[in-house]
């Protein structure tokens, strides 16, 4: 009797054969729709599987299908059926294809919108045919006749679908000799969004997003026909916590972010994959910076976490990175890194066991917390993190405002009840049993360890990135890095381990915490670790049970889910 358990084989995926540009491929009959429900595979999805991108404006994989832009029209045909209801064959035995044509003008192909037309067995799609190309050219021309030619000052320039498709399907000159339509410009739609109705191509992506994703039915179209324009209800501000996503999905420059507009040409931005740090959801983002200044966050698609979206609050929570008050120099008896770290190590080595306590923020990375945990173990230090709670919502915002609470708990810095050790630490300082306090990334004066109490310590070692009451009281301040300036990983609220990449350089003399902690741990414990983030993560994964089997490389761009 075998004891080997086998998982039941997944049901076979039903496939159908079609041809794309003459090449036969087999594609699944059903594909998840915008809500993840299985629906008949569309021509657009099938073409994507055949590596044929079908241009489109209104279609968005995460929104209900509208079918209004007509850019995805493709020429196609289906197997011809004879009067006997049997397939008609060519002389060579292959099925005869009836190309779709206008019923009243059989010499003209009739396209279908690839975004909404399901495939059927034997269908032939011609995304590269001259007829398809002509349809795209015509739609693009129509979209451009009333479009203002203000690309030089348009924020969308460089990431505009009109520009992009103009390269493929545009004309060098316009034959439009009539007067252009004029529509509202510089419309203040809400606190974070500006609208230019002349640039709008009425694709309705923003309308559908607001209604169907954000649950705020705030946008719509007024007027009729060619005079249609996007609008909010007059006087009612477009102001939910997800409005800036409409800027992302706007294929043109109609919706722009007040925060980003006119700040930077997008082609100058250096972009890196990262993770938002404003709550425990850990929305995947792209950070865009130029000359070491961060200009924007944009959501990065990750279906396990944030789909294609992020909240406005998180998106705009980056300005502190560029703050002029950033800590850039070591403060303390020694102001050069190697000397300071050696000095601190010596102090810690001398400290009696149990006389050191540690508060490490749940905003620090797993790698940093892991190294701090090594220190704490060696020093038998009482440790904790600072809980940070606020309001959550049903879509993305988590009530836990720390990006790495789970990391702090799994690594053992924070107790199961985060913050429950803080009173004990305060008590220890008060009673004199704790003489040395190590603080990473928190202002402990805000969580029950007052500045007066800090004054009783013989040594206060602090690492942070912005000054506060705790850094003011510190004997040593070690300037650290924002997530944008280093690599590392977090564990989100659902146990998704996600890594992020470095985008900008540390400010001044600051260093990534994991780098100097690695040195400090060596100096204190004699244990050598890995000097790379990859090695460090992999070492942690071997030692911390929750991360068993996970490697830095395996995290990829989208992370890995572990059991909490």
């Amino acid at each position: 009797m075998s004891t080997t358990e086998t998982k039941p084989a997944p049901p076979p995926v039903e496939k159908i054969k079609i041809k794309v540009d003459g090449r036969e491929i087999e594609v699944p009959k059903m594909t998840p729709d915008w809500q993840g429900k299985m629906q008949p595979t569309t021509m657009l999805q099938a073409c994507a599987l055949a590596n044929q991108d079908v241009p489109h404006y209104c279609y968005h994989p995460k929104l209900p299908i509208a079918g209004n832009c007509r850019m995805c029209l493709v020429e196609f045909g289906t197997p011809m059926i004879g009067p006997d209801r049997q397939p008609v064959k060519n002389e060579d035995g292959t099925p005869k294809i009836a190309k779709s044509v206008l019923p009243y003008e059989p010499s003209t192909p009739r396209g279908a919108i690839a975004c909404a037309t399901p495939i059927s067995p034997g269908m032939e799609i011609y995304p590269s045919s001259p007829a398809t190309k002509q349809m795209r050219e015509a739609v693009l021309e129509s979209l451009l006749i009333n479009h203002p030619l203000d690309c030089p000052i348009c924020d969308q320039a460089g990431e505009c679908k009109l520009q992009e498709y103009s390269v493929d399907y545009g004309k060098a000159t316009s034959r439009f000799v009539e007067e252009k339509e004029h529509k509202p410009k510089q419309v203040d739609l809400g606190p974070r969004i500006m609208l230019d109705d002349e640039r709008c191509i009425l694709c309705s992506r923003c309308v559908r997003f607001s209604k169907d994703i954000a649950g705020d039915d705030a946008l719509g179209f007024a007027s009729r026909g060619s005079r249609n324009f996007l609008t909010n209800f007059p006087g009612k501000k477009f102001d939910n916590n997800y409005t800036l996503n409409t800027v992302d999905i706007c294929p043109v420059g109609a919706l722009t972010s007040k925060d980003f507009r006119f700040q930077m040409r997008v082609w100058f931005l250096k972009e890196s994959k990262s993770v938002c740090t404003s709550c425990a959801t850990g929305c995947n983002i792209v950070i865009g910076s130029r000359e070491n200044k961060v200009y924007r966050y944009e959501p990065r698609e990750n279906d396990a976490v944030n789909s294609s979206w992020m909240c406005d609050a998180g998106r705009l929570n980056y300005k502190w990175i560029n703050s002029e008050f950033r800590l850039t120099q070591i403060k303390g008896p020694k102001t050069e890194w190697s000397l300071a770290l050696r000095d601190i190590a010596e102090t810690l080595r001398k400290a009696p066991l149990g006389s050191v306590a540690m508060v490490a923020s749940a905003r620090q990375t797993n790698e940093e917390l892991y190294l701090l945990k090594k220190l704490a173990t060696k020093l038998n230090a009482l440790t904790d993190s600072v809980p940070r709670t606020g309001e959550g919502d049903k879509l993305l915002v988590n009530a836990d405002k720390n990006p790495n609470s789970n990391g702090a708990k799994l690594i053992g810095i924070a107790p199961a009840q985060m913050g429950s050790n803080l009173p004990k630490i305060a008590e220890g300082i008060h009673s004199g049993s704790i003489k040395t306090l190590i603080v990473f990334g928190e202002d402990v004066t805000k969580c029950g360890i007052s500045a007066d109490l800090l004054g009783k310590l013989s040594t206060l070692i602090v690492s942070d990135i912005l000054p506060n009451k705790t850094t003011e009281a510190a004997h040593y301040v070690l300037p650290g890095c924002a997530h944008a300036e280093k690599r590392g990983s977090f564990v989100n609220t659902k146990g998704r381990v996600q890594r992020f990449m470095q985008n900008t350089q540390p400010k001044g003399n600051a260093r990534a915490e994991w780098e100097f902690l690695h040195e400090l741990v060596y100096d204190v414990t004699g244990q050598n670790g890995f000097v790379s983030i990859e090695g460090l993560f992999n070492q942690m994964a071997k030692e911390v049970p929750a991360f068993q089997g996970v490697t830095w490389a395996a995290l990829g761009d989208l992370g890995v889910t572990i059991n909490l």
Binding site: I65, A66, G67, N68, C69, R70, M71, L73, L102, Y104, E105, T108, R110, G111, I113, A116, T117, P118, M135, A138, V139, E141, S142, L143, I145, N146, R175, F176, V177, E178, E179, E181, I201, L202, F221, S223, R224, G225, S226, R227, N228
Partner: protein, 477 residues
């Protein structure tokens, strides 16, 4: 056969005939409904049984009735597409949004014989297991809405509507719903959206075929006023008798609206295909011919969306000869039988049954400019080709009709129109493109000549030509 055959409008214009229930009953009203409700279950030779509903549906199919709204699609076939297994309610909507320019036939039924529509509608609802139905009437017919509302109330009072109709156990409610000035509501999915309280944006098909995913995402039938009125007569006469009217595949009667430059514009109910276009325009009993001294220039045969016919145009029609063989016969435009199939063979359509006559005193560019303004104004604006193209064509034609034409404008217009037809969400794309394609193609010399004349004049510093004033400036609103 140059005379009317009044079936639907039999009573409408009779002296003393009113819209009252009593009057309708005196003329045998609601007899067809009683007959329909009382139809016994029919035993079929194969042992199966056929319900009253199935029998009516079968009858309507057998009658050959084709939709009178514009597309001319088989009514019975349309009903047969209805998803009857979804478990969802089935809705029926009477399309009384009569707004195809040139058409004024449904108005006659609604304003003069509303109970006939109501009766036809109740029978159609019964046949399709519909328990809630609407009459979507265009907003510009406030009196029509009142008349229908009263007719429905009176029908309710007589238990022709409501619960357990005439003891049959069948329940039905019908309500009047008013539009508010949007031609696109005549498109059935636009109408459904409008009835749902939204902008009348037609739905994409697939997946939203009304027979499956219509009103409130339930199976829905949308039928024209005249079509539903005809159902009453099919039940009264039986499908075989009804099918004897008209011509094969073009059965029954149809109310033809004749307008424009004829002596006696009006509406005429004729057997489908029994009168020619020429008769409808020139015969004393119909349009009565052109005004004195005028010659025919063009006719728009099936509502403004249909492709224009040029005077003197000849077509090859397939006709069955005496030997039963199909042969091609050359037919002058005026000799085309006014039916669905002949006009389709001639490259146009009988559409909503509306003939607009244009005589030689009229500038053809201005006629097209007038029509294109209608389409630019009525485009819902949902999808790109129609939204942008309809106004583009209108601007070009406005420019032309105001003395700033160019020689290349004819081809310019043809190309814009070609890029609209067949590429839009709904048939409005064709509706706005076809007039342009047909007018410019068939009267190309006039469009080119106008452009050339304007270019010559403007080059010489002269002002705009003195255009015929039927095309106003595009709206600024």
């Amino acid at each position: 056969m140059s005379q009317e055959y009044r079936l639907i409008l039999k009573n409408a214009d009779q002296p003393g005939y009113t819209t009252d229930m009593d009057c309708y009953l005196r003329h045998g009203g609601y007899g067809a409904l009683k007959k329909a409700l009382a139809l016994p279950v029919k035993d079929l030779p194969d042992g199966k049984k056929m319900t009253a509903q199935e029998q009516i549906r079968e009858d309507v199919k057998a009658s050959g009735l084709r939709g009178r709204g514009g597309a001319g699609f088989s009514c019975g076939l349309k009903w047969s597409f209805v998803d009857r297994k979804s478990g969802k309610p089935i809705y029926l909507i009477c399309n009384a949004d009569e707004s195809e320019p040139g058409t004024f036939k449904d108005r006659q039924i609604i304003y003069k014989d509303p109970h006939q529509l109501v009766e036809g509608m109740i029978i159609s609802c019964f046949a399709n297991d519909v328990h809630l139905a609407y009459i979507y009437i265009r907003g510009e017919m406030p009196d029509g809405a009142r008349i229908l509302k009263k007719a429905l109330a009176d029908a309710r009072a007589k238990n022709f509507l409501g619960k357990n109709i005439l003891g049959s156990g069948y329940d039905l409610e019908i309500y009047v719903h008013r539009g508010a000035g949007a031609y696109i509501c005549g498109e059935e999915t636009g109408l459904i959206e409008s009835l749902e309280g939204k902008r009348a944006y037609p739905r994409i098909k697939p997946p939203y075929f009304p027979a499956v995913l219509g009103l409130y995402m339930c199976p829905t039938i949308v039928n024209n006023v005249e079509t539903l009125a005809a159902v009453k007569h099919i039940v009264t006469m039986g499908s075989a008798e009804y099918a004897k009217l008209g011509t094969p595949n073009n059965t029954g009667t149809r109310i033809v609206s004749v307008s424009g430059q004829v002596k006696k514009p009006g509406y005429f109910e004729v057997e489908v295909g029994k009168a020619t276009i020429g008769e409808l325009i020139f015969h004393e009993k119909f349009g009565g011919g052109l005004k004195d001294g005028r010659k025919l220039k063009a006719i728009i045969p099936g509502g403004s969306s249909s492709k224009v016919f040029k005077a003197g145009e000849k077509f090859k029609l397939k006709r069955k000869g005496a030997d039963g063989q199909m042969t091609a016969v050359e037919v002058d435009m005026l000799d085309l039988p006014y039916d669905f199939d002949s006009l389709q063979q001639a490259g146009s359509m009988s559409g909503s049954g509306a003939i607009i006559v244009v005589d030689d005193s009229t500038d053809i560019v201005s006629v097209l400019a007038n029509l294109s303004e209608f389409y630019a104004h009525e485009s819902c604006g949902q999808c790109t080709p129609c939204r942008e193209g309809s106004l583009w064509m209108n601007k070009a034609l406005h420019r032309m009709s105001h003395g700033h034409g160019r020689k290349q404008d004819a081809d310019y217009l043809l190309n814009i129109a070609q890029n609209i037809q067949g590429r839009t969400i709904c048939a409005f794309g064709e509706a706005c493109a076809w007039p342009v394609l047909s007018f410019v193609n068939k009267f190309k010399d006039e469009f080119v000549a106008k452009g050339a004349a304007d270019e010559a004049k403007n080059h010489g510093g002269a002002g705009p030509t003195n255009e015929m004033k039927i095309a106003a400036s595009p709206r600024a609103d």
